[in-house]
Amino acid sequence: VENFLQQLLNGVTWGGIYALIALGYTMVYGVLKLINFAHGEVYMVGAMTGFYVAHALGFASQPSLAGLFVTLAAAMLACAALGALIERVAYRPLRLRGAGRLAPLITAIGVSLLLQNAGQLVFGADPKFFPSIIESRELLRVGSIALSNVQVVVLVTALALMAGLEFVVMRTRFGRAMRAVSFDAPAAALMGVPVDRVVLGTFVLGSALAAAAGILVGLSNPKIDPLMGVMPGIKAFVAAVLGGIGNIPGAMVGGLLLGVVETLVSGYLSSTYRDAIAFLVLIAILLYRPTGLFGTPQTEKV
């Protein structure tokens, strides 16, 4: 039982990270109906930015919470800019030309490849070790269940960011515009909502969250490399679909669920099946609820 609880705890931590990445997928999907396959690479760039910032400002040698905060902020800003750039260069021109939904999917794959390869050129293909910006120690121990301060920081940061996002989406003018665009973009445009600016803002928000996820992964799982975004990117997308893509609480629940299931499977069965289980869960859920856990059923109209 204690082992189970420990695994559960690890799973929730990992799930929080998935959830942060999944939010970016789901928000972009909500407003554009686009699967932004470059999102995993934004997360990678976030981790890499964190690596360089932490080294440049000396947080790597002097761990502190303030250092973590600064690193986090820097990476989020950098990735917000990157997300905006991707939107402007790779997606907006297609949208303005009225291209279908598939052309942006291919440019997304192109951007993802570009960032992976540029990452190998700029950062080097070898794995790097993320500096321990906060000293890892055990906070609490009940029986054999250990809770480290890194886990607490990861969870608290993830939850705080999600709460912040919830506030932005539900309580601000921008959030209302975003919901309007995601509900019906042409109608929102007619009502004077600046759709292009809302889309840009969505990319900025989503990319910043991905950057935060990158830093948090760096803290709990320090080996980072330019291809680190590929698998978590796909898994987070699965998490978003699990919850019902386009649905923000769905992405959070989907991320947590996926993190827990994966950790339990690699703990109890075998880690080789870890990557398969995410997809098995996904398919099982889709067969019973074809639009995800929280998705609204689509009715077909003639």
Partner: protein, 336 residues
Amino acid sequence: VRARLLLVAGLALLVAADLALPRLLNPYYLTILTRIGVAVLAAASLQLVNGFTGQFSIGHAGFMAVGAYVSAALSVYAGADWLAGLSGALPAPLARGLYFPLPLLAGGAAAALAGFVVGIPALRLRGDYLAIATLGFGEIIRIAILNVDSVGGARGFSLASPSQPGLDLRYEGLGAIYAVVALSVGVIARLVYATGGLAFRAVREDEIAAEAVGVATTRVKVEAFVVSSFFAGVAGALFAHSEGYVHTNSFSFIRSFEVVVFVVLGGLGSISGAILAATVLTAAPELLRGLGEWRMILYSLLLIVTMLLRPQGLLGQRELVPSWLRRAAREPHGAP
């Protein structure tokens, strides 16, 4: 009569090509040309589902993996003995030529079966949910194979038979490989451009309207999926038997994405477009090899820029076909 003449001429050309090409070209070019053939077949087969039937599948690599591994296992565990027996009775090239179609058909059949099993539940889903489910099935297939020890697991699987140690199970005849590719693409083209093929496009354009005029939409979708998987399996089997070594890493979702890129970049609903894109995009990284580490960066930029300039794909829905082939396709079996 003309069709038969064409067939004989084609066969003669193939034999000549198989004999001449290995002497004319160095093995590097032969390998690239083979890979182009595999890519073309993969792209054309996916076009049937994604371009003509309008169902978006991004798990094609899973079916290629089934074809590759089943055909490789057949060759290693049984085919090697048969081939050795045949070679004893017949001249070696003839024996190889006779044996070669067998693993291809087996790989295709196994992949078609997998496509059927996956297609029945997956095709109930729509749009992006279908896409992600096919992606999931593709990955599950890959990881399942990764955990089968008799086909090498994480070590990969070499086409070397334990019972016939000296026997080379690879098949590198470029002429025969391209014949298989051409035949398969021909079958796909006949399927979608025959009158019955209208059903695929009807489902793509408007499922409800298609249903209303009596198209059994579910059946058509599953049919497209199974045929597409069959040829993906053949492509995988070709890949396994030309490389002589397979590894599950060659069949990850990245490979699936690559095939989707061929199909969309070439133009959804255009077989010749898919062939064009598969050829160019498979050759491009090799042509750019002189650029060193900038190669893949340029490749991805090329992809982005092309898509920005031609959002409808290189050929849109048009086909680029020489007129004699078009006529031959319309009047099969040498009709007057």
